[in-house]
């Protein structure tokens, strides 16, 4: 009798303690993971794609991911210091690339793109970075600084408003049409690595992104202004008491983020040589996703998140869905990419490299 009721209460206790929500989430994750694995095995068994095709997809994923990573750095920098999400960052990226288009057309008409590709590419990078930097600094000055003390939700809404404002301002400046970037003959075609042909634009995007990331890492970790940025992110008031000019540091942060976005814009048009005033929206959204995936606030995390997202987008649909018999799997790119994002965030709410508990900083 007594043992029975003890067993009963233990059973009840188990029911009360049983983490239903977590159980359902884990079950869901297992089902998705099983589906993905089964699809991948079926795809590889069917052997429709050769190793070379997979390698090409992988490289184009890395190239695309590198661009996401560089844009994501802008999100992560601003978040690390101000704890706001600068949703207008995608438009900062568009502003640089779209403005540099006109410079590129000018250079092309003078024949510079053919005769001096390195100088012209340098000019494009400088123009794009400067324009994006200017837009980012103006954005901070006009849209965010007056709201610095306001609750979190306010700058978020402002950011969305600023994003639309910038989009339609640039539509007013440059028109609503998609414009084809002039091609630079020197970076067309492929390079042989070993005996494997890699598209030049892919390699340039990847190397460019690595270089930009290293520069940023050096600035943040090794320079005085980087130390000030980290100090402001740690505690704004104490940093101010220690003699850090907080306003100047924040402007500098937006400036670096903007310049990176402008450079990413040029890498982007190397890959997809077309500009339109809405071009910033999706890359911006995906870079934000990449920043969250890697752990927002972390510079290494942003790069990691960008690469993972890029690879998932190119390799994912064919790998997971093709073998499972899903028709037109590449129409489902966002589902694959964002499904994985949800899956990761269930188990690692802070992303791959984020602080496990953000409470102390936020």
């Amino acid at each position: 009798m007594t043992t029975q009721s003890a067993a009963g209460s233990r059973y009840r206790l188990f029911l009360e303690r049983f983490p239903v929500r977590r159980f359902v989430l884990v079950l869901l994750a297992l089902v998705i993971a099983y589906g993905g694995a089964a699809g991948s095995i079926a795809t590889l068994r069917a052997g429709r794609f050769s190793g070379e095709v997979w390698a090409n997809l992988f490289i184009s994923g890395v190239a695309r991911g590198s661009v996401y990573a560089i844009i994501a750095l802008g999100y992560t920098l601003v978040y690390g210091i101000l704890f706001i999400i600068n949703f207008a960052h995608g438009e900062v990226f568009m502003a640089g690339a779209f403005t540099a288009y006109f410079v590129a057309v000018g250079l092309a008409s003078k024949g510079m793109l053919e005769s001096n590709p390195i100088i012209s590419i340098g000019i494009l990078f400088v123009v794009s970075s400067l324009v994006s930097m200017g837009v980012a600094i103006l954005l901070e000055r006009i849209a965010y600084r007056p709201l610095r003390g306001a609750p979190r939700l306010v700058p978020l809404i402002t950011a969305i408003g600023a994003s639309l404002f910038l989009q339609y301002t640039f539509r007013g400046f440059y028109g609503a049409n998609a414009r084809a970037y002039p091609t630079i003959p020197a970076i067309q075609g492929t390079w042989e690595i070993g005996s494997f042909p890699v598209q030049k634009v892919h390699l340039i995007s990847i190397l460019g992104a690595v270089a930009l990331w290293l520069v940023l890492f050096w600035i943040v970790e090794r320079t005085r202004v980087g130390r000030e940025m980290r100090a402001v992110g740690e505690d704004r008031e104490i940093a101010a008491l220690m003699g850090v000019d907080v306003d100047r540091t924040i402007v500098f942060t937006f400036g670096i983020g903007g310049a990176l976005a402008g450079a990413a814009g040029i890498l982007y048009v190397f890959l997809f040589n077309q500009v339109i005033f809405t071009m910033g929206f999706f890359p911006g959204l995906k870079a934000f996703t990449a920043a969250v995936l890697g752990g927002i606030g972390s510079i290494t995390g942003a790069a990691l998140g960008g690469l993972i997202l890029g690879i998932l987008e190119t390799v994912g649909p064919n790998l997971f869905l093709d073998g499972a018999g899903v028709p037109s799997p590449n129409q489902l790119i966002p589902i694959v990419a964002f499904g994985i994002l949800v899956l990761v965030l269930i188990f690692l709410p802070g992303g791959f490299l984020g602080a496990p508990d953000d409470k102390s900083r936020a």
Binding site: R48, F49, V53, N56, L57, S60, G61, R64, F83, P151, R152, L153, A176, N177, A178, R179, A180, Q199, L271, F272, N273, Q274, I276, F282, V292, I296, E313, T314, V315, P317, N318, D322, P327, S328, P329, N330, Q331, I333, P334, L345, P349, G350, G351, G354, D358, K359, A362
Partner: protein
């Protein structure tokens, strides 16, 4: 990630609800005084707004009073003539154009964004038709029984959302007699055709080609088009591929829009009927920029021809990436949705595009070559931006002819019966326009046969003469 509370900020959130782990509803069940407190809080809130609500009620009353006095004025105005009997018997009534008011014709075309050259080209065609309907180009529109004809342009955005928004705007204006549009099938199918049709407003499109729009099951009785049906174009491209290029295998890509999907399917059906093999039928997303995945999937089946009847934004990128991924041996073919200078510049040479044969319209060739084209160049400062200016011209003239036929003047007010106008357009038979001899069939297709051609892009431009041309007729 940030915890929710810090993310939302703690202002405006009551301290009790923030810190208590017990949900509000349960709290109220456990402690009745909580419920009372909540009720009091709500009452206080209402009291604060009492003044505002009173003001709103007064305003509503005033508005209602004004509205009724307005309608009184209308009935006074029409006593000297009175509506003719045809208006009472018409299911949708008449458009009443008071003396001195203009006759309004709407247009619903894509005039912004990457596909704007398609819509602007049609709009120019309509403007020129309204101007020339009296026999001369003089920059003044035709008048019908003493009323000016004016065009009310709206944008269809080349999307279902844009079509809905634009059609709602036009449907809200009861003075709109008929609408010429849409540019893109996605803006019409189930959206603009239904919104306008429900109000008895006739929609006649210069460039919709999706078969679904005039299919028995999905068509709207107030919908017509002067563009060809894509069962014709799909069959023509299949003949180009199988007979002219001599390819036996082909793959298709569409972007989920009714235009692209309808055309890809029509092509696939005809290509297989000719004896060819469709290796894969794929789809992409509007707004995508990287097509390496879908191209790898197509390459795995190694087709000899890739047919992508999509639009400019994605088409430009797709064709560039297809050239590097698939190599030079695969024939790249698109359709009239890609007729745009932006696409020619981006795509480069060696790409084929199908569409209506502008070099051999079967209609009034003298009118087109000697009067229309020179005027177009003079007025808009360019070669035609696309192919459908001619179809738009014909659509506008059919609408004008129908209005002249059914409009009844009564005491200075012009009455245009809505169903009557629809029936007059449906009865169009043997009308000689620019694009050919037009006769509307029972499903709303006014182009019974069309010459479909395939053009090559040469030197960053579409070649003037087609490489392939064939006449196709609806059964």
């Amino acid at each position: 990630m940030v915890r929710l509370e810090t993310w939302l900020g703690t202002h405006n959130v009551s301290r009790a609800s923030l810190h208590s782990p017990i949900p509000a509803r349960l709290r109220q069940q456990l402690w009745p005084q909580e419920r009372k407190l909540e009720r009091n809080r709500l009452l206080m809130k209402l009291k604060n707004y009492r003044g505002l609500m009173a003001l709103l009620v007064v305003l509503a009353l005033v508005a209602a009073a004004c509205g009724s006095s307005d309608s009184d004025g209308d009935s006074d105005g029409s006593t000297n003539g009175g509506p003719p009997a045809v208006c009472a018997s018409d299911a949708f009534g008449c458009v009443e154009v008071a003396s001195g008011d203009p006759i309004k014709i709407g247009s619903l075309l894509v005039t912004t964004g990457p596909n704007s050259s398609l819509g602007l080209d049609s709009q120019y065609g309509i403007e020129m038709a309204l101007d020339y309907a009296d026999g001369t180009f003089d920059d003044t529109n035709i008048t019908i029984q003493g009323h000016d004809v004016v065009l009310v342009p709206e944008d269809d955005g080349c999307s279902a959302e844009g079509g809905t928004a634009g059609a709602n705007k036009l449907a809200a204006d009861t003075q709109i007699v008929a609408v010429i549009g849409t540019s893109c099938s996605s803006a019409a199918l189930g959206t603009a055709d239904k919104i306008l049709g429900d109000k008895g407003v006739t929609l006649i499109s210069p460039s919709n080609t999706s078969p679904a729009l005039t299919a028995e099951a999905t068509r709207n009785p107030f919908y017509f088009r002067t563009a060809h049906n894509d069962t014709l174009q799909g069959a023509a491209v299949a003949e180009f591929a199988y007979n002219f290029e001599g390819v036996k295998t082909a793959a298709t890509i569409h972007d989920g829009s009714p235009y692209a999907e309808g055309l890809a399917n029509a092509f696939a059906a005809s290509f297989e009927a000719l004896g060819g093999t469709i290796t894969s039928q794929d789809a992409i997303q509007v707004g995508d920029t990287d097509f390496s995945g879908v191209l790898a999937s197509i390459q795995a089946e190694s087709p000899e021809l890739l047919y992508f009847p999509i639009f400019v934004g994605e088409g430009s990128l797709l064709v560039q990436q297809a050239k590097t991924t698939l190599g030079d041996s695969v024939v790249l073919t698109g359709s009239d949705g890609l007729w745009s200078d932006d696409f020619y510049a981006a795509a480069g040479d060696g790409v084929f595009l199908s569409g209506p044969d502008v070099s051999a319209f079967a209609g009034d060739a003298a009118l087109y070559k000697d009067i229309f084209l020179p005027r177009y160049a003079e007025k808009y400062g360019s070669e035609p931006l696309s192919a459908f200016h001619a179809h738009a011209w014909d659509a506008a003239n059919i609408v004008l002819g129908a209005i002249e036929k059914v409009a009844v003047d009564s005491g200075g007010t012009l009455y245009i019966p809505r169903s009557g106008l629809r029936d007059a357009i449906a009865a169009t038979s043997g009308y000689t326009g620019i694009t050919g001899t037009l006769s509307c069939n029972g499903n709303g297709d006014c182009q019974p046969s069309a010459t479909i051609a395939v053009f090559e892009i040469v030197g960053g431009k579409q070649a003037a003469d087609p490489v392939f041309s064939v006449v196709k007729s609806l059964e």
